[in-house]
């Protein structure tokens, strides 16, 4: 009944996550964006809005707005850092890898970079959707484009 490995407080709330929560990167709404997508988590009310500018199949600029728990907001902030300058095909691959990591798979650390900080969330099934919300939003935004 009890989990095998007792999860540790700081495995979830890594310092990098708290930093992004306290001082989010790329927070705002772009004017005249190519994509503008908002998603929320009906269970807890977390909200993420992404606006991005796409040039030649590459995300040249992306900002997020939203409200919610530290995991959801930090994840959005980290997403904007990580995907800026990436080609859409790479974003797609990254998104898949990120989701797999949160499902418990061993990630490609070179691909994940800072996103590794969110690996601990995979031990908290209820919080996985907090971490994935920004990525869901991005995926939906890019598919609609």
């Amino acid at each position: 009944m009890m989990p095998q490995d007792e999860p540790k407080f700081d495995e979830l709330y890594r310092e990098l996550i708290l930093d992004h929560y306290r001082y989010p990167h790329n927070r705002g709404v772009l004017e005249k964006p190519d994509v503008d997508m908002q998603q929320h988590n009906p269970v807890c009310g977390d909200e993420i809005r992404l606006t991005a500018i796409i040039e030649d199949g590459t995300i040249s600029q992306i900002e997020f707005m939203g409200q919610g728990c530290s995991i959801s907001q930090a994840s959005a902030s980290m997403l904007t850092d990580r995907v800026t300058g990436l080609e859409l095909t790479d974003v797609d691959a990254l998104s898949v890898e990120f989701r797999n990591m949160l499902r418990g798979d061993d990630p490609d650390e070179q691909m994940m970079q800072d996103l590794m900080a969110l690996q601990g969330v995979s031990k908290y099934p209820v919080r996985v959707k907090c971490a994935v919300l920004a990525w869901d939003t991005l995926q939906k935004a890019l598919k609609l484009k």
């Binding site: 979830l12 708290l18 807890c44 009310g45 530290s70």
Partner: protein, 411 residues
């Protein structure tokens, strides 16, 4: 604070969560169960299990007796005139949907109005919204004051000749507000509207006397009052139930069936199609006995004491914590929803979990109320008979610790 001394009756209280003693503070969502209820359920399956209302054989007679005896106990518990006014459903939500479906479709016309409040659980909103969508009736709201009480200043205008249903919660699952339902029921009845009370937070925590309230229909759930999951109750006045169309169709609810027509049983069986949840209902009867032994006045007093203590302790924390709902314990139940500046409710609940403290975070199935409060979610601690002062102390310690952890974020 007087100790209820019942904590040891609840086996789950011995559990450790992350090596810490369990501090269960989510009874507004569901209550824990005393050993007598857990044992009653197992005993039933071991010794008495057979389908009800069927056999001429011993087991079915025993099973039927247990099921129908529980109905009598529930009737007595809320002072219903007769056990035939007690319908068993799956939960409060189903009870309220039953009303919207069976009474609503026969009695509501286009342009009619249904009056509710902004502090309703979704279960006392969506059934009416569905009905309004189908029929074209209108949903109206009593306003809410800053302090989380209802604004009844214009109630006479809100309840008009077009008002066909007035439905509201006995006690808010977020604000803890205990509404002056008797006064509102009286106005609804006078105007010829159907009075409906969502008693999901009422019946478990407050003495309820449906005759004194003069309420038409009163709904509640067993699992929030020490009983098993999967059992709901709908009390109704005899004349209303007998005139009401059936809800679900099938076995158990019929009298005679021909190839082209059928007749139904009398209430309450008319509303209980299919094999009912008789094992859980039988165990619910034991939960009612248990609450009767304690006495609902004592339950209420304990919750006043523990909630007052919790409110006082929260106030002492050196943070700008917002506690929602009325401060006056005469009109407040054992629910403490709060906003911790700079820390999201999910993070509050997550931190507390590490200390074994189980609280709820989210919109508590009351999104319209959350919007009125200007928050997307809140953290909520709620109390019941098994909670004691140590539970509150552990809750407060954990809250302080979390505040320090997230401290920089809130500055």
């Amino acid at each position: 604070m007087k100790d209820m001394s019942v904590r040891s009756d609840f086996p789950i209280m011995d559990r450790l969560i992350h090596d810490k003693p369990l501090t269960y503070l989510d009874s507004a969502a569901t209550s824990q169960k005393p050993a007598v209820v857990i044992d009653a359920l197992a005993d039933f399956y071991r010794n008495n299990n057979a389908n009800v209302h069927r056999g001429i054989y011993t087991l079915s007679e025993e099973s039927t007796l247990a099921y129908e005896t529980a109905r009598v106990k529930v009737a007595n518990f809320i002072n219903a005139g007769s056990e035939e006014q007690i319908i068993f459903t799956r939960n409060t939500t189903e009870s309220l949907n039953l009303i919207a479906y069976a009474w609503g479709r026969d009695n509501i016309k286009e342009g009619d109005e249904i009056l509710i409040t902004p502090m309703e659980h979704h279960s006392n909103m969506i059934p009416w919204m569905l009905l309004c969508k189908e029929i074209g009736c209108k949903l109206k709201y009593i306003s809410i004051n800053e302090d989380g009480t209802l604004d009844l200043s214009n109630l006479d205008e809100l309840i008009s000749e077009n008002t066909k249903i007035v439905s509201l919660t006995h006690m808010s699952n977020v604000l803890g507000t205990i509404n002056p339902i008797k006064q509102i029921i009286e106005k609804a009845n006078k105007a010829g509207a159907l009075s409906v009370i969502d008693g999901a937070q009422g019946a478990p925590h407050l003495p309820v006397d449906v005759i004194d309230l003069d309420v038409d229909l009163y709904a509640f759930s067993a699992h929030k009052m020490l009983g098993p999951t999967g059992v709901g109750v709908l009390y109704g006045k005899e004349k209303i139930l007998s005139a009401m169309s059936p809800f679900l169709g099938g076995g158990e609810m019929i009298d005679e069936v021909y190839e082209d027509r059928f007749t139904t049983k009398e209430a309450p069986w008319k509303f209980e199609a299919g094999t009912p949840n008789f094992a859980d209902v039988a165990a619910f009867g034991v939960a009612i006995d248990y609450l009767d032994d304690i006495g609902m006045d004592n339950v209420r007093q304990h919750e006043i004491d523990i909630t007052q203590y919790a409110l006082d302790q929260v106030r002492k924390i050196d943070r700008d914590i917002t506690v929602f709902g009325p401060k006056n314990l005469d009109i407040r139940g054992g629910v403490l929803a709060f906003d911790f500046p700079g820390v999201h409710p999910h993070d509050v609940a997550q931190m507390m979990d590490w200390d074994g403290v189980q609280i709820r975070a989210g919109h508590h199935c009351a999104q319209p109320l959350m919007r009125r409060l200007g928050v997307s979610a809140t953290a909520r601690a709620s109390f019941y008979i098994y909670n004691n002062q140590e539970d509150v102390d552990r809750f407060i310690d954990s809250l302080k610790k979390g505040g320090e952890f997230f401290g920089d974020a809130s500055r």
